[in-house]
């Protein structure tokens, strides 16, 4: 990304900020309220059962385990939301993208601009969540704030990959399937609510390949620096980081390519 691309992308992001001043109400529930519900119900509620349970427990309170995982899971939800329906709207429903490329802006400026905006929003959403988790007594403030970094990266990886995917869909039916058969299972089985080694043996290796697993692992390694297995696996953090970076890079590349192909016919 060159300096002029950055300037153009920022100008595109400005339009997203303007629009958000009017649409933020619709995002409050999914971005802010739901994660806190999960934290309360799973962490505090279910946690009393888990922590009082027998045998193979966790070395940390369950609410701490869930809160650290939810940083990444929350980021995934937001990233997936940003990369799907709004992209289809710009392309097919409202067709804003078609108008934008008749100005000096091009497909790459739209993609980078949306990404800049997504990072801004992820930072905000995750900061709010993390502070609430700290107030719950689930996380320590210093490492928790640092874990926003892996969280944002997880969100970026999802938003770019899903943007690229959406740009290759014809309509929104496949978008609904993505959430039902992609995002929801990832949310449940990628280590947010229980450690991956607790999965049935045949399912465990599958989980290691899912992107959210790497996001959750990395967020936990940063948020809970002194904790080891079974809270986190022995996988070195650089593998988690590399996975997410590659996913984001490939996502951006194919997003730009696909959008250009869809718009310039």
């Amino acid at each position: 990304m060159t300096a002029t691309t950055l300037s153009r992308s920022l100008r595109y992001a400005e339009s997203e900020v303007l629009a958000y001043r009017r649409t933020w109400r619709g995002t409050v529930i999914t971005s802010f309220v739901n994660p806190v519900f999960f934290l309360a119900a799973m962490g505090a509620g279910l946690g009393t059962l888990v922590d009082g349970g027998t045998g193979q427990g966790l070395p940390i309170p369950y609410v701490t385990f869930v809160a650290s995982g939810l940083i990444a899971a929350n980021a995934m939800q937001n990233g997936a939301g940003d990369g799907s329906f709004p992209v289809m709207a710009g392309l097919k429903w409202r067709k804003n993208f078609h108008g934008t490329i008749t100005t000096p802006l091009g497909a790459e400026d739209i993609i980078w601009g949306r990404l800049i905006w997504a990072v801004g929003r992820l930072l905000f959403v995750l900061a709010v969540f993390t502070i609430i988790a700290v107030l719950f007594g689930a996380l320590e403030v210093g490492p928790a704030l640092l874990a926003i970094g892996p969280g944002v990266l997880t969100g970026v990886a999802f938003t770019t990959a899903i943007t690229a995917w959406t740009l290759n869909q014809e309509d929104d039916r496949s978008l609904s399937s993505l959430f039902r058969f992609g995002i929801v299972p990832l949310f449940l089985f990628s280590g947010t609510f229980f450690p991956i080694p607790f999965l049935p043996d045949w399912l465990e290796p599958v989980a290691y390949f899912t992107p959210l697993f790497h996001g959750v692992e990395l967020a936990r390694k940063v948020a809970l620096p002194d904790v080891g297995a079974p809270v986190v696996t022995d996988m070195p953090a650089w593998i988690n980081l590399a996975y997410l970076l590659v996913m984001a890079g490939v996502g951006v590349y194919y997003s730009i390519r696909s959008l250009d192909k869809r718009l310039r016919v």
């Binding site: 153009r8 100008r11 400005e14 339009s15 303007l18 009017r22 008749t102 016919v265």
Partner: protein, 308 residues
């Protein structure tokens, strides 16, 4: 001699096996209102998209402001104002914000954009809707806003693809009035339309397109003079009588067109034609005399009407 703003030679656009634009040539000069007239599917929009640099050229050569759109589209778009066929306003923004973001896309400063927004709202007669949402605006208002948005960067060339399609007559006349004003201010306009009245009202010069080809070129008046006698006598017959009557019309006019519901007689002297009609004892249900229009030119050139 100054170079034309847009120059096309052998310009061709193909989608797979389908040729949308078939080796067309045209020059568009600074300060003129240039029209592309033709039915839906004639290749007008594809041509516009190539001029606005958003559609790659398959074959042939074109320059816009002397620049090859395939080489430096961005610098061309910096100087264009584009009004697409379908409104693509940002529904999440207000009327004024829609203008503002396009100003930003064109890298204008806030201090440049703000006075411009007020001017354009005035021009588009939307000042009172300044801060309202886009969604509840009428079709005509949305169209005027789209045009205002295209003018934010004070473009050297304004491209309007079917500007009044889908609007009611009153909204169309208001829009024509605005476009006429732009013309008087010396703007260069490219207009595509399948309405011959629109082309006659707004265009200094136009090309008639059909099936990807340019079939005629000139001012509306020239085209009518060249391809259609001065007057048209339209005859409507009672049901079932047209076929028989047609056989007796020989030699009545310099040319005739038999349509499903009426017969058109092209003539330089409608009175004389009507007298002969009576003399031959032909009594149509209805006789209408009118001046020739671009519709007649199109019919002559292609054998078909502009609007199916």
């Amino acid at each position: 001699m100054t170079q034309p703003l847009v120059q096309a030679r052998g310009l061709t656009k193909r989608f797979g096996d389908f040729t949308a634009v078939d080796a067309v040539d045209f020059d568009i000069e600074k300060g003129e209102a240039f029209g592309f007239l033709g039915p839906n599917g004639a290749g007008k929009t594809s041509t516009m998209k190539m001029i606005t640099t958003v559609s790659p050229i398959t074959e042939g050569k074109m320059t816009v402001f002397g620049v090859d759109p395939m080489v430096d589209g961005r610098s061309i778009r910096q100087r264009l104002g584009v009004v697409p066929q379908e409104d693509n306003l940002d529904l999440e923004l207000t009327v004024a914000e829609n203008l503002y973001i396009y100003g930003r896309y064109h890298d204008m400063k806030k201090s440049e954009i703000n006075p411009r927004i007020e001017e354009l709202l005035e021009f588009a007669q939307l000042t009172e809707r300044r801060d309202s949402q886009v969604e509840p605006l009428s079709g005509g208002m949305k169209r005027r806003l789209t045009i205002a948005r295209a003018l934010i960067n004070d473009p050297d060339l304004i491209i309007l693809d079917e500007p009044t399609t889908g609007l009611d007559p009153q909204a169309r006349h208001l829009l024509w009035d605005r476009l006429y004003r732009l013309k008087q201010q010396g703007a260069t306009l490219i207009i595509t339309t399948h309405y011959m009245d629109e082309a006659e009202q707004l265009c200094d010069r136009l090309v008639v397109m059909d099936q990807g080809k340019i079939v005629a070129e000139g001012s509306p008046r020239e085209l009518i003079q060249r391809y259609a006698p001065r007057e048209v006598v339209e005859l409507r017959f009672n049901e079932g009588e047209q076929d028989r009557a047609v056989l007796e019309l020989d030699g009545l006019a310099s040319r005739s067109e038999v349509l499903a519901d009426r017969v058109l007689l092209y003539t330089d002297d409608a009175d004389a034609t009507q007298e002969t009609l009576h003399a031959r004892g032909i009594h149509p249900e209805q006789v209408l005399v009118r001046r020739s229009t671009l519709e007649d030119v199109f019919l002559r050139l292609t054998g078909r009407g502009l609007i199916d």
